[in-house]
Amino acid sequence: MAILSRGSYDLKRYPGFGIMAAICLGLLYLPLCVLVLFSFNERRSVSNWSEFSLDWYAKALANDQIQQAALNSFLVAVVATIVATILATAAAIATTRRERFRGLTACYALINSPLMIPEIVTAVALLSFFSLIGLHLGLGNVMIAHAVFCVPFAYLPIRARLHGMDTTLEQAAADLYADPVRAFRYVTLPLLMPGIMAGAALAFVISLDDFMITQMVASAGSTTLPVYIYSQVRMGVTPEVNAISSILLGISIVFVSLMFLLRKRERA
């Protein structure tokens, strides 16, 4: 190991790889920086910088349609997160807290299937399905659709957490005559909480970000923020769209940071 990282003759180093890494970051972040920068532009232009201003944020926040869309996004995300997290927790316990059983791979495949199926396919399939069974719940349809694809995102961190916990404490609880329900309530659940929080945070972000499925499933009154932004972009690019996009971007970044902190504390 020592030889590998000795200053000038570092065998681990490949010339140009650092530059590629810088290009990678630049590619990922430059567009986002431009987006945020021009949301603060005073003039209407999104390509010529004039002066710093928060006008577009004020305009965006005062816009009725944006308020309604934001409220819809929030409601859908909250309901989908709660439903998906509860179902995913139950499923994670069923697939980990016992020896491997036949059909386990099939269980994984079914739970994770929303990750594999292209979004556009899910979107049109749900549209057809809702119209066939005559389910017109407005926002309710969007909530159901979101809950489905949020399950695997909530499931994965919870399962990972359960894999990392050994069963000794639960066995101790059972030795002290705790029934499975109480052992879960007082032993497993508190230990599992960081995993559940991470899963819920992921589900929330994923629901908040979804465009494709919502676009297909949503009826007139149940527009969410991404669907609203898309319709505005179609009509023309304005700094108001930049402002509302930047807010959405900020929310995602806050949630990802939160997840990182949760995971760090878990390791510590």
């Binding site: 431009v34 697939t95 299937s113 396919v121 898309y230």
Partner: protein, 313 residues
Amino acid sequence: MVVEAETRKASNWIDRYSNLSATRRSLTLLSPAFALIGFFGIAPLGLILVYSFLVPGTYGGVIWEFSPEAYIQFLFERDIFDETLAFNASYLQIGARSVILAGLAVVGCLLIGFPTAYFIATRSAQTRNIWIFLVTVPFWTNLLVRTFSMMLILRDQGPLNAALLGIGITDEPLAMLYTDFAIGIGLLYSFLPFMVLPIYASLERIDFRLVEAAYDLYANRWQVLRRVLIPLSLPGIAAGSFLVFILSLGSFLAPDMLGGGKHLMIGNLISMQFGIARNWPFGSAAAMVLLSLVLIALMIYVRRTSRRNRQEA
């Protein structure tokens, strides 16, 4: 009294659950998730499989009558007057464009993603965490917002053209937006984190004494890369390539926003059939084609990985 009755009812429920066998208990816990995904995730797929063999309704929807017309439409155009079939390559072209662009996105992501992942994996633990955080943020960031921001970059009056004009590479703005090039860049940009993260995960586990051993045996940098590093990170490369490929193949936003809706990919074709074109059976058939392509990619991926695992075992 009431409280007592409540408690008894609750303990009854707990007793009943506790007395179930382990398998029954698992099934009870799994059933809500299975019901939700089965009913609203899998059943709708079955439905569009059926829809793809029906006749389109005039205002969207379907007429319940069997017809293979939707699949014929991929290759042939039916003359409105004499019902003869003429070969029509335009849908085939959309399919080919989708596969080619998805393939190019994989290659581009590999070329940028592998060096980046390697660079990150060879940093100190603390620097590594920061890099991983930076690559992960776009992973969870709204794809619509990200694609929109790429649109701002590629516009005729955008910063990229301003820079090119400034340096003097071109005299007039290059038309980059609404081209196949823009779609390709968009796909690369959208799904790059899906390549970096899995490759990083497998590079991180590499025992660098193997690299040292290779150098001791007079291997040069290129040979170490080709014979040691790439083979050892193959699981990550395969996973990343698979993810980027299926995500790009079914992509809607990049071709829609950056391609301007003129250069269609399968995703746009499907969306169009359920929207303005009002041909649900044809849209369903296109969705089935996309789903089959994804399943083929999945099968190749699973087969490759399980074979590799067996070889290692």
